[in-house]
């Protein structure tokens, strides 16, 4: 049996109204212990009001070598930004 506890990724909501954000990772035997450990490791100074834990092996990450084909198509679509449109300065509320 592998004696290393599995790795979990920890997501913390710092206060209601904000998203959970990735805080880091840690080892724990199960999800319940991962939440306990996350409390001790990542919220010692009231950094959170809610924790999500996900075992790292369940996360699929994009391949950095394919970043070009994934993300570059958005690069030349400047018309998706409001500043692309030329409007007179005196125009208000837009």
């Amino acid at each position: 049996m592998n004696k290393d506890w599995p790795i979990w990724e920890i997501f913390i909501r710092s206060k209601n109204g904000l998203d959970h954000r990735h805080a880091g990772s840690l080892h724990a035997a199960d999800a319940e212990m991962a939440i306990q450990n996350a409390r001790d490791v990542y919220t010692r100074r009231q950094e959170g009001v809610s924790v999500w834990v996900v075992e790292s092996k369940h996360i699929t990450a994009s391949n950095p070598e394919k970043s070009g084909e994934l993300f570059e198509p958005a690069k030349d679509k400047v018309y998706r930004h409001p500043t692309f449109y030329n409007l007179p300065d005196e125009l208000k509320h837009m």
Partner: protein
């Protein structure tokens, strides 16, 4: 094949030169990976072993206020060790391997923790000087090129400043106390001053890794630059305490705008690195005992987790 790897290395260096961070899944030269595993794990081990000399005083802290602060500081250090182990693990080494390297002595930790903490004043000196020196190094590392390491450092630096302040407050109380207390504070400074200067490592000309580390932006300042910064900021702090830094050669140098200071005892430095410091054996023994005595807990937790998971499945079925 060789051409491809040269091209990859050139592209990698160009990214570093542009100030980009390198992330876990990005291509990196094997030596960059290995250097980081060594440096980050060494840093993690230092946090973990660093709990021992202070843990020594938790039960004997002179007041509840001092006790909760010291306890919180030692708990932070456990946390810092964990952030750093996680950062090292992103480079493809397991936690068990990392721990094993510490326990069998193949990995190093900061030599400062091989000095004993003999009096309560040492808790002051450790917070003020040892954490002070560590912070200088760690602030630099928040800008290091490897993303997971840099992020761990940002978190650590935020928490570390209370460590130094609590240490200085202990020194301040003792330095303004009775003659015996003042003497105790001076004695702690005398014993921790030189080992603190040693924390920045060998002189630049004796540090063969510095050049490559600067090129890869693992480090942004050399050992001697960081050491100078530490001396310059610490001398005025000693003056406020009314304590004397144990270096007869310490003198303000107007031309360089910093202090000149005496030569470190490099024979002692290398001796402690090689394992012959006053507490090397004790520290390793304590870590090994903690690991061995905790083995049944780690195993039991896994078995419990497995049982709970099976019970859940059988309930659904």
């Amino acid at each position: 094949m060789e051409n491809i790897s040269i091209k990859l290395e050139e592209e990698f260096q160009a990214r570093i030169d542009r100030g980009e961070n390198i992330e876990a899944k990005d291509w990196m030269p094997e030596k960059y990976r290995k250097t980081h595993i060594r440096q980050i794990s060494q840093h993690a081990h230092s946090e973990v072993v660093g709990m021992l000399p202070e843990g020594n005083w938790i039960s004997r802290a002179p007041s509840l206020r001092r006790k909760v602060a010291l306890l919180a500081k030692v708990q932070d250090e456990a946390g810092h060790g964990l952030y750093l182990y996680s950062a090292a693990e992103t480079l493809g080494i397991s936690r068990d391997e990392l721990v094993e390297q510490l326990l069998d002595g193949t990995a190093k930790y900061s030599s400062i923790f091989n000095y004993p903490t003999l009096t309560w004043a040492d808790m002051g000196a450790v917070g003020w000087l040892v954490d002070g020196a560590a912070i200088i190094n760690q602030v630099m590392l928040t800008k290091t090129s490897y993303g997971p390491y840099a992020r761990a450092m940002v978190r650590i630096c935020k928490e570390e400043s209370f460590h130094q302040r609590q240490g200085y407050e202990i020194m301040l109380a003792l330095a303004n106390g009775t003659e015996a207390q003042k003497h105790m504070a001076q004695d702690a400074l005398n014993r921790f001053w030189w080992p603190s200067l040693m924390m920045f490592g060998p002189r630049d000309e004796d540090s063969p890794n510095t050049e490559q580390s600067m090129k890869w932006k693992i480090k942004k300042k050399t050992n001697d630059e960081l050491r100078q910064q530490f001396v310059d900021q610490t001398v005025p702090q000693a003056e406020i305490l009314g304590l004397t830094i144990p270096d007869p050669d310490l003198k303000w140098n107007d031309d360089k705008g910093g202090y000149d200071f005496g030569e470190i005892d490099w024979a002692e430095f290398w001796d402690v690195v090689k394992g012959n410091g006053p507490c090397n054996r004790k520290r390793m023994e304590d870590r090994n005992n903690a690991w061995d005595n905790g083995a049944w807990v780690r195993e039991a937790a896994l078995v419990h987790a497995k049982k709970q998971a099976e019970r859940k499945v059988s309930k659904i079925a």
